[in-house]
C-alpha cells in the first residue's frame, strides 16, 4: 500500500472516530465497540503476527483491567472520574506486571504449546474470578453509574476508546519501524537463529507482551465502565468470544501487516452486526461459518490476499 492511501485510511478512521458518534448518535455504542475490537486485533498482532506467538491468553489482561477499575471504583470512595482514572492506572500497572511475570514463565514455550498454555491461562483466570468473593465471584461486579446526562456516557466512552485505539495503533506503527520491530520478526521467522545471532530474545518477548497488556487493560477499564457490569467469563475473561475474536480479526485482515488487524476488526465488527440484525437466532452459526471461511480461504488475510493479487498482476 502506498503512503498516500495510508494517510487516506488514517484520515477516514480519524474522521469516523471524531465525527461518527455525533453524526450517527444511534450508533455510538457500535463505534465504541469497533474501537475496542481494533485495540484487540492490533495488540494481538504484536505477538501473534509480528513475533509468531499465537496467544489465546491476551484477554486475561483485558480482564485484569476490568476488575482493577471495578474494585478501585467500588472501594476507594472517589468521585467517578477520579476513581476511573485511578482504576485505569492500577489496572494497567497490574496487567503489565502480570505480563512480565507470566511472560517470563510462558514465553519460553514455543509454537502450539504456547497457544495451549495461554488458553489454559484464560480458563483459569475466569474460574478464579468466578470463585473469588472479593470480586463478586460468579455474579460479577457492577460499575458505578456515569454521573453525566443521558447519552453523554456513550459519547465519553466512544471517544476514550477511540483515543486508546489511535494511541495503540500509532505506538505499534512506530515500534515496527524500529530495530525492535525487526527483532520481533526475527524471533517469528527463526527463534533459534535469533538466539544464535546474539539477540536478547527473552526481554524482547516480555516487553512486547507488556505493551499488549498495557493497552488491553486500559481498554478493559473503559469497556467495563461502558458496559456497566462485568461477568467473569462473559465479559472480563471472555476467552470464547473476545479472546478468539482478536485472533480471528488479525488473521482476517492479515496478521503481521500494519493495517491488517485494523481492517480485520472493521470487517469483522460490521459483519457481526449484520448477522445480529438479519440472522438473529442463527448469528452464532453464521459467525462459525465465517470463521471457517476466513481460515480456509483467507489464511493470509485480506492484506495478504491483496498483496498476492497485486504481485500476480505486476508479474502478468
Amino acid at each position: 500500500m502506498s503512503r498516500l492511501s495510508d494517510w487516506h485510511i488514517a484520515a477516514l478512521l480519524a474522521l469516523t472516530g471524531i465525527a461518527g458518534p455525533l453524526l450517527l448518535p444511534a450508533l455510538v455504542t457500535q463505534f465504541a465497540f469497533l474501537w475496542l475490537m481494533i485495540v484487540f486485533a492490533v495488540t494481538w498482532d504484536i505477538l501473534g503476527g509480528r513475533m509468531g506467538y499465537n496467544s489465546f491468553g491476551n484477554i486475561v489482561f483485558f480482564g485484569i483491567g476490568c476488575y482493577a477499575a471495578a474494585v478501585i471504583q467500588r472501594d476507594m470512595g472517589l468521585p467517578y472520574f477520579e476513581g476511573l482514572a485511578l482504576g485505569l492506572v492500577v489496572g494497567t500497572g497490574l496487567a503489565v506486571l502480570a505480563a512480565a511475570l507470566l511472560g517470563s514463565a510462558l514465553l519460553g514455550i514455543r509454537g502450539h504449546y504456547f497457544a495451549i498454555a495461554t488458553l489454559g491461562l484464560t480458563v483459569a483466570s475466569g474460574e478464579i474470578a468466578a470463585g473469588w468473593n472479593y470480586v463478586g465471584a460468579g455474579s460479577g461486579m457492577a460499575l458505578p453509574l456515569y454521573p453525566g446526562a443521558l447519552g453523554e456516557r456513550e459519547l465519553f466512552f466512544s471517544y476514550s476508546l477511540f483515543a486508546v485505539a489511535a494511541c495503540c495503533f500509532l505506538l505499534c506503527r512506530w515500534l515496527y519501524s524500529t530495530r525492535f520491530g525487526l527483532a520481533l520478526n526475527a524471533i517469528r521467522d527463526d527463534h533459534d537463529k535469533a538466539d544464535a545471532m546474539g539477540l536478547r530474545t527473552t526481554p524482547i518477548k516480555i516487553f512486547a507482551w507488556c505493551i499488549a497488556a498495557f493497552f488491553l487493560a486500559l481498554s478493559g477499564g473503559l469497556a467495563a465502565n461502558m458496559i456497566g457490569f462485568i461477568d467473569p467469563r462473559d465479559v472480563a475473561f471472555a476467552g470464547a468470544t473476545f479472546g478468539v475474536w482478536m485472533v480471528l480479526m488479525a488473521i482476517l485482515g492479515g496478521k503481521g501487516t500494519l493495517w491488517g488487524p485494523v481492517l480485520g476488526a472493521v470487517v469483522f465488527h460490521i459483519t457481526q452486526e449484520i448477522f445480529w440484525t438479519w440472522l438473529l437466532g442463527w448469528q452464532r452459526v453464521a459467525l462459525g461459518a465465517l470463521i471457517v471461511i476466513i481460515v480456509v480461504f483467507f489464511p493470509q488475510g485480506i492484506m495478504g490476499w491483496w498483496a498476492e493479487r497485486r504481485a500476480r498482476r505486476e508479474a502478468a
Binding site: R179, L182, A186, D189, M197, P203, F207
Partner: protein
C-alpha cells in the same frame, strides 16, 4: 598468534551414542581452520557444543582464554563467536536488507537501544556486504524467495554483518553452484584477510578445504583422527581409510 578458541577433551553423548569423544583442538587468531570427516563423524555436534547449542558432558571450551561451555548461545554470540548452519537458517519473511540490519552488532543491545530505527550507516554496510556476496540486486527480496545457494550466501553475509571474532561455517559451499564456488572461496579468504574474521570451516568438498584452510583437523567416529597442514592431512593413510574404508 594466540589461541582464540580452545576445545579441551570435549565429550558429548546423546543417550548411548558418543558423538564427540575426548576431542581437543585449537583455532589461532587470524587463521582459517578446517574441520573434515565422513558423515556422522561429529563435526556439526562439535559446532553445536562450541556455540552453546548442546550441553557438553565432559571437557572445557575456552574462547579468548575464558570458559564458555556453561554460557547460552546468545551470550556466546555476543562475545563474538557466531555460527552458521548446515541447513541454512535465515529470516524467511523478512527482506535481505532486514535480515542484515537485525544481524548487526548493535541489535544485540538492550531493549532501549532497539527502540530506534536502523541507522543509515548500518544500512550502507548491509548493502555493501550484500554486494560482497553478490546479492545486492536481491536486497529487497524476501529471504525465503532466494534459492538455497543464495540463502547460504545471505547467511554468510549476516554472519559478517555481526563482525564476529570467530565464525564457524558449517559446509558453506554445499548446495552452491559449482561455478560460484571459486568466488565463494575468494570471499571467505577476503573475510579472513580484509575483515579480520577467524574462520573454522566444516567442509566436505576436499578441493575447497585444501585450498582454503591453513590447518585441518579430521574427525572420525567422534574422535580426532589427524591434524596438520592440508598436505599432511591429505597424505595421512588413516584419513584415506576413514573416507574410503580400509582396503
Amino acid at each position: 598468534m594466540s589461541a582464540l578458541l580452545e576445545v579441551r577433551n570435549v565429550t558429548k553423548r546423546f543417550g548411548g551414542v558418543v558423538a564427540n569423544a575426548n576431542i581437543s583442538l585449537g583455532v589461532e587468531r587470524g587463521e582459517i581452520a578446517g574441520l573434515i570427516g565422513p558423515n556422522g563423524s561429529g563435526k556439526s555436534t562439535l559446532f553445536g557444543c562450541i556455540a552453546g547449542a548442546h550441553a557438553v558432558d565432559e571437557g572445557d571450551i575456552l574462547f579468548e582464554g575464558a570458559p564458555i561451555k556453561h554460557l547460552r548461545t546468545a551470550t556466546i554470540a555476543r562475545l563474538g563467536l557466531i555460527r552458521t548452519y548446515q541447513q541454512t537458517r535465515i529470516y524467511g519473511a523478512m527482506s535481505c536488507m532486514e535480515n542484515m540490519a537485525i544481524s548487526a552488532r548493535e541489535a544485540q543491545g538492550g531493549l532501549l537501544s532497539l527502540l530506534r530505527p536502523v541507522p543509515p550507516a548500518t544500512s550502507r554496510r548491509a548493502a555493501d556486504l550484500l554486494a560482497f556476496v553478490g546479492l545486492h540486486e536481491k536486497r529487497e527480496e524476501k529471504a525465503a524467495r532466494l534459492s538455497f545457494g543464495q540463502q547460504k550466501l545471505l547467511e554468510f553475509a549476516m554472519a559478517l554483518m555481526n563482525e564476529p571474532k570467530l565464525l564457524l561455517l558449517d559446509e558453506p559451499t554445499a548446495g552452491i553452484n559449482p561455478t560460484l564456488i571459486n568466488g565463494l572461496i575468494d570471499r571467505l579468504r577476503r573475510a579472513n584477510s580484509e575483515l579480520g574474521v577467524t574462520l573454522l570451516v566444516i567442509e566436505h568438498n576436499m578441493r575447497v578445504i585444501m585450498n582454503l584452510a591453513h590447518r585441518i583437523t579430521c574427525l572420525a567416529h567422534g574422535q580426532v583422527l589427524a591434524e596438520g597442514t592440508p598436505d599432511e592431512v591429505r597424505d595421512d593413510a588413516r584419513v584415506l581409510d576413514a573416507y574410503l574404508g580400509v582396503a
